[in-house]
């Protein structure tokens, strides 16, 4: 039982540390910009505000469609 307890704790610690330092998720953007990488803590923070969605088997940032703008210099004729 002692070994089992130790093993369980070791698995948890390994998960926690690898989650903090090694976990990486590529988050794509709907506007086609370069994807960003988030770590374990970033994923937790994003999940807390529903920041990600699954599309074509990849994670996309939900709020990655920013408004497009045009100014006076873009006005033709």
């Amino acid at each position: 039982m002692k070994r089992l307890r130790l093993l369980f704790l070791a698995i948890g610690l390994a998960g926690l540390l690898s989650g903090l330092f090694l976990e990486r998720h590529a988050i794509y953007r709907l506007d086609g910009a370069e994807p960003a990488k988030v770590g374990g803590a970033g994923f937790v923070a994003g999940a807390a505000v529903d920041d990600f969605m699954l599309k074509d088997d990849a994670l996309y940032a939900v709020n990655s469609l920013s408004p497009n703008a045009a100014s006076a210099k873009d006005c033709k004729t």
Binding site: G19, S71, K76
Partner: protein
């Protein structure tokens, strides 16, 4: 016979009060001298022990159960959140339920109110394991999220207004704007809407806002459609023209409400109700807040029972049950308790009974907050390790151990 100390003087109650305060430190945001702490408090990069919804405006941590359910729905493995839960379980077992969970504290307080007291049948214990398996892992993974929105509005094409042939119109100071929209989602978007907003270059404040919709237009998935031109007042000298669409706001919803966070009474109490009070319904996507139905559609779109009704009904049922039964949520519906319980025998902190010391007086059974047969079940999956039985045992036969 030894008696338990008054409720609010018990160590576990004091620990729960401190834990509830620390997990909701963002409540201190209005204090100006704490302003420097606000960005850090709002990040929610740490996980909570116990049940405290990350949708709560005061919460500083994320609920690991919510993160795991979300991970299932987007098919991503949240190793950090899982690691946190395993470490917490390996170290404390179900001690977290009695000493650190804010919702456990609420249940204990409500049970103090004089009311008809009843005992729960044993089979209800299975509820939390079913909730964990079905609503946190299986259904979210299987059904995912239904997503609506994500209409991309491309950069507008602006021309000075030209009078149409054969018509005499006053076109001075007007521009014609043509925008195209791309549907990046899986479903067709009918009647696209576009917001035209003039934003001052310097102050970044809105000068003028106009919403146009395009009836009869459907944008198929994966296609780009040029919309008919829109004639606007020319205020380009004052600011930029920004185009966007309310249909660019992606909304995630869980099919058939089979997603733990959508049903969780903790989320309803701590996140949904404050959001309703603040008029923010629908702003946080999937989490505890039920999304606002699309324009023109009532709550009926969510089926016979709307998500809101279901959530509020579950919360009301549990609040009522808390008056009659001690810790009903922990026993019936808490997936965190299910995880902690499954491994409580191999946790570093655990309770056990010295069989030789037991005189079968029944004192432990009378104080157990989760109605256990203590001599048989202490330290097991259902025992929340509160230690009340330990305090009343006349032979000190129930003990707590921390270590291998």
């Amino acid at each position: 016979m030894t008696r338990l100390p008054p409720f609010f003087l018990r160590v576990r109650v004091c620990c729960s009060v401190i834990s509830a305060f620390l997990l909701n430190l963002a409540a201190l945001k209005p204090l100006k001298w704490l302003a420097w702490l606000v960005p850090a408090l709002s990040q929610k990069v740490l996980c909570n022990p116990g049940m405290n919804c990350h949708g709560c405006p005061w919460a500083i941590g994320a609920c690991p159960i919510g993160v795991m359910a979300y991970g299932s729905a987007v098919r991503a493995l949240p190793i950090y959140a899982i690691g946190f839960v395993v470490v917490l379980t390996a170290a404390l077992g179900r001690l977290t339920c009695a000493f650190l969970c804010p919702f456990g504290l609420l249940q204990d307080i409500l049970y103090k109110i004089p009311f008809l007291k009843i005992k729960l049948p044993r089979f209800t214990r299975a509820g939390k394991y079913l909730a964990l398996a079905l609503l946190v892992f299986i259904f979210p993974f299987w059904l995912g999220f239904e997503t609506t929105g994500y209409l991309r509005v491309n950069t507008p094409d602006i021309k000075k207004a030209v009078a149409e042939e054969g018509k005499t119109e006053d076109i001075e100071g007007l521009i014609d704007v043509v925008v195209s929209v791309a549907n990046l989602g899986p479903k067709p978007v009918e009647r696209p809407q576009v917001d035209f907003v003039y934003v001052n270059n310097e102050s970044k404040k809105e000068i003028l806002r106009l919403r146009k919709d395009f009836p009869g237009v459907t944008v198929p998935p994966g296609e780009t459609v040029a919309l008919s031109k829109v004639r606007l007042e020319n205020r380009l000298a004052e600011g930029n023209l920004s185009v966007s669409s309310p249909q660019s706001e992606v909304t995630l919803s869980s099919p058939y409400h089979l997603y733990y966070c959508r049903l969780c009474p903790v989320g309803t109490l701590e996140a949904t109700l404050p959001a309703y009070a603040a008029g923010e319904v629908g702003t946080t996507g999937v989490s505890p807040v039920t999304p606002r139905p699309p324009a023109g559609q009532g709550w009926g779109m969510y089926g016979l029972v709307s998500g809101r009704t279901l959530r509020l009904g579950i919360l009301a049922a549990f609040l009522l049950l808390m008056l009659a039964v001690s810790r009903p949520f922990c026993r019936i519906f808490c997936p965190a308790g299910a995880i902690y319980g499954l491994f409580s025998r191999i946790a570093l902190s655990r309770m056990y009974l010295d069989n030789e010391a037991c005189i079968h007086c029944g004192a432990c059974n009378r104080v157990c907050p989760v109605d256990l047969d203590v001599p048989k079940e202490v330290g097991g999956a259902e025992c929340i390790a509160c230690g009340d039985c330990m305090k009343v045992c006349p032979k000190s036969g129930i003990r707590r151990k921390f270590g291998l």
